[in-house]
């Protein structure tokens, strides 16, 4: 266990460096000279060369990368945005990332808040009409990706029924968040329902459940303390998977509903060749992703003491 964690932690910085360097190189390989965009209409060879030298774009890629990372690590300085002149990348991303986090949080609340109870219900009513109905609906929901539900919801609830606003952003407690959050949460609901159902069915067959019932515990205690708690372990471990699924949805929902989050920002930055912003976001996203994977992996033995890390052959 200890050796495994230490090995993972030693490998972690290398992983982040490799991944960010590849991103950095790909961005530099991309078309469109950032200096051209920076200069706009005032093109002049001499000025262009001077700016290139000033920004350090003439140096080898490794040196550019090292200089960039030095700023990031020592001063948390991601550079200055090309597009929003005079604003630091930290400012530009910082405000947008909060918006995306709120949207994702709302989507997760919807996913888990609906998915877990419904999955539990289906498992406890296994084999009845309820179970079949829930499983069929979950299957149908799973076939409804974000780019399908978004226009349909917009058509029904905003244009025909006129109960929800069509687009925009007003913070976590504004009604504007309702539609995008539902759209993002729906595909996850199906996954959670099926996971919880399968997992509860598995736990129901365990002997400790029979023991708990046999010793006369109230049904509610059995359900929540013995069944649900154990059944949620696989759900927790697939949480990273659910988060990754949300990432793709964030892009589409933010663009479609005009929400000023990081998904829309990175597309705007890509179109404007705003490399510093893209790079900053890529570093933050990668680090977050790698850390989230690590945390999920380390959580296995904490949740389920029967699993021992590093034991056996599967790393």
């Amino acid at each position: 266990m200890g050796v495994y964690v230490i090995r993972r932690l030693i490998w972690l910085p290398f992983l982040v460096v490799i991944v960010t360097f590849i991103t950095f190189a790909m961005l530099r390989l991309g078309p469109g000279d950032p200096v051209q965009i920076w200069l706009g209409q005032h093109q002049n060879d001499e000025v262009r060369e001077r700016i290139r030298a000033k920004l350090g774009l003439d140096d080898p890629l490794f040196i550019q990368y090292a200089r960039y990372m030095e700023g990031v690590i020592t001063r948390l300085d991601f550079g200055e945005s090309f597009k929003f002149r005079g604003k630091s990348v930290r400012e530009v991303i910082g405000t947008r990332i909060l918006v995306s986090m709120q949207l994702n949080l709302a989507a997760i609340i919807i996913t888990l808040g609906i998915g877990i109870p419904v999955g539990l219900l289906a498992a406890l009513r296994q084999g009845t009409g309820w179970d079949n109905l829930i499983v069929s609906i979950a299957l149908a929901f799973q076939s409804l990706p974000v780019f399908i539900t978004a226009p349909v919801m917009l058509l029904v609830f905003a244009l025909h029924l006129d109960v929800l606003p069509t687009s925009g952003w007003g913070g976590f407690f504004s009604p504007k968040i309702v539609m995008p959050a539902i759209v993002m949460g729906v595909p996850g609901i199906a996954i959670v329902v099926r996971l919880v159902r399968a997992s509860v069915l598995d736990v129901l067959g365990q002997e400790y459940v029979r023991t708990a019932r046999a010793k006369g515990l109230p049904e509610l205690t059995v359900r929540y303390r013995h069944i649900l708690r154990n059944a949620l372990i696989p759900v927790t471990t697939s949480f990273g998977f659910i988060l990754a699924g949300l990432a793709g949805g964030t892009f589409i929902v933010e663009i479609y509903f005009g929400i000023p989050g990081v998904g829309r920002l990175s597309l705007e930055a890509l179109n404007a060749r705003d490399y510093p912003v893209l790079m900053g976001f890529a570093i933050i996203a990668t680090t977050f992703f790698v850390l989230a994977n690590l945390i999920v992996d380390l959580m296995y033995p904490w949740l389920d003491p029967r699993i021992r890390l590093g034991a056996g052959h599967v790393t």
């Binding site: 991103t23 790909m26 961005l27 991309g30 078309p31 076939s143 780019f147 226009p151 990432a247 996203a285």
Partner: protein
């Protein structure tokens, strides 16, 4: 894994049955039964029989097969050319001449939806079967069987590729390499006189498939590696080694056959994911570029409130096609999983 699943009805079990049924059978009958070859059921025939019994799954498999085969012949079965602009008849509702109506340039929607399905079909084949499967299986086999530094290098590479936030990296990947490749291919076309590489969207298909394969092979490789690690300890591999079989032979004959069933499950479960990635990329505008029709692009272009209110058919037909495709992929993935892993139900 595989050998002990085969041969459900062996001679012993037949004999057991004869024991208790003895009273009902005459000696002649027993002799007759004994002389006939006993037909066992292999793991595969049992799995396919389980699959065959699921009616909904069979319907979905037929629909998928129909879409895959149909898209081969899409230029023949579509009533119009997908690029044929008809500015006299723009944004028309469904009619006999245009069953799905026409879009804002008067192009026939039925044709465009069929070609959009074809795009998705091509991407799933090239990316999943070509890229992910080949890369994942080969690297996973090597990693699991060779062990030591080969294993370490492949696994570390996999961790790197799976540490990228996929959509963001694909965005950057496509915008970094597409313009360069486009210029190169244009030069190539000019030099050789070929004119179909860009026109038919082959370049887009290649870029997306390579991109998806780069970020998607690791899951498959890890699965294969785990299976190989299990199989490597078994006695039949030892026996093969003793008889002097080469590494390539062992990998191909003994290892690959044993991992076939988890592979089938994983591929059929992965179809929806790959199709979804292509649609998301095309929706964002970095996947398949116009004029090649893509359902993702259609959903993006026709998703505005104005179109939804005034010409809903422009988006409802693509939505229908995508939903049907995804539904069938999901049912297929489930059914195959149930049929090939009967214990994990």
């Amino acid at each position: 894994m595989l050998p002990d699943r085969s041969g459900v009805s062996t001679r012993e079990s037949q004999a057991d049955r004869l024991d208790w049924a003895e009273s009902e059978l005459s000696g002649e009958q027993i002799l007759e039964m004994d002389s006939q070859p006993i037909r066992g059921h292999s793991y595969w025939s049992l799995a396919f029989r389980r699959l065959y019994r699921k009616k909904l799954a069979m319907v979905c498999i037929s629909i998928i097969a129909f879409m895959y085969v149909g898209s081969l012949f899409s230029p023949l079965i579509t009533p119009y050319d997908f690029r044929a602009v008809d500015l006299q008849n723009t944004r028309q509702g469904p009619s006999l001449a245009h069953p799905f109506g026409t879009d804002r340039q008067g192009r026939d929607m039925l044709t465009r939806v069929i070609f959009g399905v074809r795009t998705t079909v091509i991407i799933t084949i090239t990316s999943l079967l070509g890229g992910t499967l080949v890369l994942g299986v080969v690297l996973g086999l090597l990693s699991g069987y060779m062990g030591r530094w080969v294993d370490a290098v492949i696994m570390r590479m996999g961790e790197v590729t799976s540490s990228f936030p996929e959509i963001l990296l694909l965005l950057i990947f496509v915008s970094a390499f597409r313009p360069r490749l486009l210029t190169a291919v244009q030069a190539f076309e000019d030099a050789t006189g070929l004119d179909w590489i860009i026109r038919l969207g082959v370049l887009d298909f290649m870029i997306i498939s390579v991109g998806l394969a780069i970020f998607g092979w690791f899951g498959m490789a890890r699965l294969v590696r785990g299976q190989v690690l299990q199989a490597r300890e078994s006695q039949y591999i030892e026996a093969a080694l003793v008889t002097g079989a080469s590494t390539a032979h062992i990998l191909r004959v003994h290892m690959l056959r044993n991992i076939l069933s988890p592979l089938i499950v994983s591929v059929s479960a992965g179809l929806a994911g790959v199709a979804g990635a292509e649609l998301v990329l095309s929706w964002i505008g970095v996947g398949v570029f116009p004029p090649t029709p893509s359902l993702g692009r259609m959903l993006f272009e026709n998703g505005s409130p104005q179109v939804l209110l005034n010409h809903p058919h422009l988006i409802l037909f693509p939505i229908g096609a995508v939903t049907l495709l995804f539904f069938c992929f999901n049912i297929l993935g489930d059914a195959v999983n149930d049929a090939f892993n009967p214990r994990t139900r």
